[in-house]
Symmetry: C2
Subunit: 300 residues, 2 copies
């Protein structure tokens, strides 16, 4: 059994930002989210890679006590993505997406993972997200992410998944698109009507918002002077969030709020360097220290 | 002597938003800021109007215990502005600006106001802002606002004013423009180098940031489901901010943080209706209640 089950991608990224450039750097939603969760618990991932996936990258994930029983390796090339961030660092312009072996991904959850109580469904085809949910034996808390692409192409399937999860995670742009309103409060209210108990809207530098029935939490953004590469920040947020909750073994309002701050903290570190460079060296003491700073910047 | 001196405009606005339309509604930075400040102290304003300025509007301001000794009435038309907000409500598109009698405004501060200790210089020509500062006898705390237009046309004068105030108030777009960076932390650091002790960056729905030497405060935005008309919110923020500080008679870090929340609270009410309709009916009990909610939404 794993503490947290994470379904997503493991891949290679070509990233360019005003601060530099990396080619074939380790990336993918499951990589970022699992390393983020590893500060709190021992997560396991379900993902697929090709035979070009490097041992050193497998080793990096294993060194963080991430279970890789669910990482299928098949012949062919690993999923690869290329993107460029302009000066404002808000959104990457995708230069290429080579699905490669990801086309063979069937979201099969290994028997030893099916008892997982905390589950993060990273951004992927909602049909696969649904398939994962159906394989779970005792899910207590399912968090899902998605993206514009699925909102535009598979909205009906997406709505089915949303109805089955505890937390819908969206960024502000996605929330506005999915619910056809600029007002995030209105978007959240509509989202809650679809079934999830909680909706979290990520706003990048502006922090994150938690909505549930009649309650609202506003999490600050950590004030970073330099953002080298925001790739994976959303997944780090999700990984830190669910990792902390699984460690607590509690999903009450107070734990959820703290979990959002822990997620934000790990995400803020992640933005400080390319790929997983910063979070793979990050210590738990650094996480705790920044959590304290987040409290301080909100006190009045 | 007045508790808070406010220099700005009193005028008539034609405003259109997706929620309605108003013509010749009371507006202007000094109107909004002084009503906002009036929840805490008795402010006085220095502004100019024409002979078309309506008695009922003078009456409204007087009913809030706002001193109008500094409100000069001359023959001619009152300053008028027209703007339209699109669906996203972020920024008004100006349809007209008729300076009218504002062209005669000489920023003369009446003798009985010159001892004011708390001063808000609302957005206006930096040359006039400087002139006001020179007339003050015992300023303890000066807060200034500005706008893109002055950054683009009178940057040198603007920098001189900034060097003489305690607090520079900017919105995020202005901060990025003035300091030529997208990163608000970098912008704030540069701003502090110019002289002021504090920089506040207003981010609309995303709240506000306070920066001083080595300290940072992140104020949440109040979650409004409907924003009818954001006109004047920045001035309400400033008025509530300085009004609270003057009432406290203290400008320590703790008071400043609370003042930012009070400013945000009054601004959030202001957005709920057109012109000064909401804040002219607002009660202090409502302000206190929402202040409490602001505490609750950021607790973790």
């Amino acid at each position: 059994m794993v503490d947290v089950l994470i379904i997503g991608t493991v891949g290679y990224d070509n990233v360019e930002t005003p601060f530099g450039k990396r080619t074939r750097a380790l990336g993918g939603s499951a990589s970022y989210a699992s390393v983020a969760a590893s500060f709190f618990v021992e997560p396991g991932i379900v993902a697929i890679v090709g035979d070009d996936f490097q041992k050193e990258h497998k080793q990096l994930l294993l060194s963080k006590n991430i279970s890789l029983h669910g990482l299928t390796q098949v012949s062919g090339k690993t999923f690869a993505w290329g993107g460029k961030y302009e000066y404002d660092m808000n959104e990457a312009k995708t230069s290429f997406t080579d699905l490669n072996t990801l086309l063979e991904f069937d979201a099969h959850v290994p028997e030893e993972y099916r008892n997982a109580r905390y589950v993060f469904l990273a951004n992927t085809d909602p049909v696969l997200q649904l398939k994962v949910i159906e394989q779970l034996k005792n899910p207590q808390f399912i968090v899902m992410d998605t993206m514009n692409f699925w909102i535009q192409t598979k909205k009906e399937d997406l709505l089915k998944v949303i109805a089955k999860v505890n937390v819908l995670l969206l960024n502000d742009g996605e929330a506005r698109m999915l619910f056809n309103t600029v007002n995030l409060q209105q978007a959240a209210r509509q989202a809650l009507h679809l079934g999830p108990q909680y909706v979290i809207i990520k706003k990048g530098e502006h922090g994150a918002l938690l909505f549930s029935d009649g309650k609202h939490f506003n999490a600050p953004g950590y004030p970073l002077e330099v953002i080298k590469d925001p790739t994976g920040c959303g997944d780090c947020f999700a990984g830190g969030f669910i990792g902390y909750l699984a460690k607590q073994g509690s999903v009450d309002e107070s734990s959820l709020r703290k979990a959002i701050i822990y997620g934000s903290v790990v995400a803020s570190f992640n933005a400080e360097d390319f790929s997983l460079d910063r979070i793979s060296k990050l210590t738990y003491a650094e996480v705790e220290k920044r959590f304290g700073e987040m409290k301080e910047i909100r006190e009045f």
